[in-house]
């Protein structure tokens, strides 16, 4: 599948970016190439060509243009690096990255790839003043600076690096780090706008709403999806499917399209929030439509799972928030979690879930969160279907090349709407995507 031009394209992008950063990889003028061979349908954002989910060259281009480009990528929760000297492995797209808290308390992120021969430096969380490579023991401080080369001067006057080799000025490829409300983000690009600007005021406010007080991690799990990462990114922004696919939700009146709620799409389309309130539910819309979701005789025999608390005091029972390209935060009743969408291959994606509660949770609240994890996660009553459908989409791709999906719910725009029966946020994502990819 891999086309010979792919590597050249990606390298050109990266060299251009390095040249812009003052790096030394490129001789001559920076070139940003726009020659990806993809014709977008004339309907614009109302059509998504299926090949974007299937092509290896597009996948490689996404690494350069999106994940290593001017985007903020969620790295970890700040509380996961509580003390100076703490570090952990994470990813930006499929690029391994280390995020660390230096002895002076500052946060740093750099590529998890040894400068010597490229071995991975860090596999699991650790603490210390430096990180050393297991392969030949080159060492780095927690800003990613090379501090030592084993046997640099040789042994007994023999071997060693050439005398002109110096560790000075050598640094693992760095990311800029910024935090917002206890979330740590990183970016490889210098021209990424300030994090809060990138989030936009509406999204920032909804993150603050959840991260209102000190949090406590409660557990994590990974879900491996057999689909391209964008099929899942679409799914998250698709508020249209919520009550049609996730029948548990609807049956127990946790989320109905007739409920009060809506979606907010950030100005550039990149980020979104979908929200709803349990109040003011009306049956008539549904009865008319005779949706299969309506199953009146279906009741829970143990309702303790649903007996949560309005802990944010605004009656909002569901808030799903995304930040381009791969960050998700949800509040569904009292289930709180962040998710990282990590592409692994063109057709495989890892979803990292990290659940949390608040540091001042009492025992009853802990139990509520424990039970409500049954709602949302890889085996969640209202989320397991997503794992299945993204795979259903991926499986049809061979026949879909040359064809495009229809994204016209709620019109053609990417604006905020006071209904969830819309694909506005999906179009928003593709607006942001096309802009960055130049397609």
């Amino acid at each position: 599948m891999m086309r010979p031009c792919v590597f050249a394209d990606v390298r050109a992008d990266r060299d251009a970016a390095a040249a812009l950063r003052g790096g030394d990889k490129l001789v001559g003028r920076p070139r940003l190439r726009n020659d990806i061979d993809l014709v977008w349908p004339k309907e614009g954002l109302r059509r998504i060509p299926y090949e974007v989910y299937a092509r290896e060259d597009i996948y490689a281009r996404e690494r350069a243009r999106i994940f290593e480009g001017p985007t903020w990528n969620f790295l970890c929760l700040e509380i996961e690096l509580p003390n100076p000297g703490a570090y952990r492995a994470t990813f930006v797209g499929d690029v391994p990255v280390i995020v660390a808290r230096h002895g002076d308390g500052t946060l740093h992120a750099f590529e998890n790839r040894c400068l010597h021969r490229g071995a991975m430096l860090c596999l699991k969380p650790g603490t210390g003043k430096e990180i050393s490579c297991v392969y030949h023991n080159w060492t780095y401080d927690l800003t990613g600076r090379l501090t030592g080369v084993a046997f640099q001067k040789g042994v007994n006057g023999k071997g060693g690096m050439p005398p002109e080799f110096s560790t000075a000025g050598r640094h693992l490829r760095q990311l800029r780090v910024a935090t917002f409300a206890g979330l740590v983000f990183g970016t490889f690009a210098d021209d990424t706008p300030a994090l809060e600007t990138y989030l936009g005021p509406e999204i920032a406010a909804r993150i603050r709403r959840v991260m209102a007080k000190p949090i406590r991690p409660m557990g994590s799990v990974s879900q491996y999806l057999h689909s391209n990462w964008k099929v899942y990114a679409d799914n998250l922004r698709d508020s249209y499917h919520a009550s049609l696919l996730h029948l548990f939700f609807t049956t127990f009146k946790l989320n109905r399209l007739s409920m009060q709620g809506g979606i907010i799409v950030s100005e550039n389309g990149a980020n979104h929030v979908s929200y709803s309130k349990m109040a003011s539910d009306r049956d008539d819309d549904y009865d008319a439509a005779k949706l299969r979701a309506k199953q009146d005789n279906f009741g829970l025999s143990d309702r303790t799972m649903l007996q949560g608390r309005d802990e944010f005091g605004d009656g909002i029972t569901l808030q799903i928030l995304t930040v381009f390209p791969g960050f998700i935060m949800h509040q569904i009743q009292n289930s709180l979690a962040v998710r990282q969408i990590l592409p692994k291959r063109v057709d495989e994606t890892e979803l990292n879930w990290t659940y949390f509660g608040f540091a001042d949770d009492d025992d009853a609240m802990r139990t509520i969160r424990l039970k409500q994890t049954n709602l949302v996660g890889p085996g969640g009553y209202i989320s397991m279907e997503d794992g299945a459908v993204v795979n259903f989409v991926q499986r049809t791709l061979p026949g879909g090349i040359g064809d495009a999906s229809i994204v016209e719910m709620g019109g053609a725009g990417t604006s905020s709407q006071d209904t969830r029966v819309t694909e506005s946020a999906v179009r928003g994502f593709w607006h942001a995507y096309r802009e960055r990819m130049g397609v």
Binding site: S220, V221, S301, N374, P378, M384, E385, A388
Partner: protein, 150 residues
């Protein structure tokens, strides 16, 4: 022997799609959870599923049968002989290792989960029942989704 027998009947009910029988293997109230070994090691409480009553287990089955959408699948559990641990609170404690193979309708078969059951078993009644069953899985990654009980 009693423990091995209980375990064998338990996995047979799941593997043979007799999910309605599944809650009946537990006392009421009870504790059933599916949680990663990683979270257990770090003393983090959240897993993938948690129930503290037979009714919650029955709700899971009802939801799988009537509400949830997932690709048709079944499991084959392979369990080790039980390692009986010191009893506590008048309950027999045991650890049993398991492998779960997941078989999809299209014939695809793969190893879905490995791990151990940490059980507290009530032998005081006519049939042995799980008062507590902790399903601690080794693989942090869950492939696609987890629908059926382990």
């Amino acid at each position: 022997m009693v423990v091995d027998n209980l375990q064998a009947r338990y996995v047979a009910a799941i593997d043979n799609d007799r999910l309605e029988d599944w809650p009946g293997f537990f006392t009421d109230p009870c504790r059933y959870e599916i949680i990663s070994a990683e979270n257990v090691e770090q003393n983090l409480p959240l897993g993938v599923f948690f129930a503290d009553s037979r009714a919650m287990l029955a709700d899971r089955v009802a939801s799988l049968r009537r509400a949830n959408i997932y690709e048709a699948q079944r499991y084959r559990h392979i369990v080790s002989p039980a390692l009986v641990l010191p009893p506590a609170d008048n309950l027999t404690r045991a650890q049993t290792n398991f492998l779960v193979v997941r078989i999809m309708l299209d014939g695809d078969m793969r190893l879905f989960m490995s791990g151990r059951y940490l059980d507290a078993i009530d032998l005081s009644g006519p049939t042995a029942l799980f008062a507590e069953k902790r399903v601690i899985f080794d693989n942090r990654r869950i492939d696609t989704l987890l629908a059926l009980p382990i």
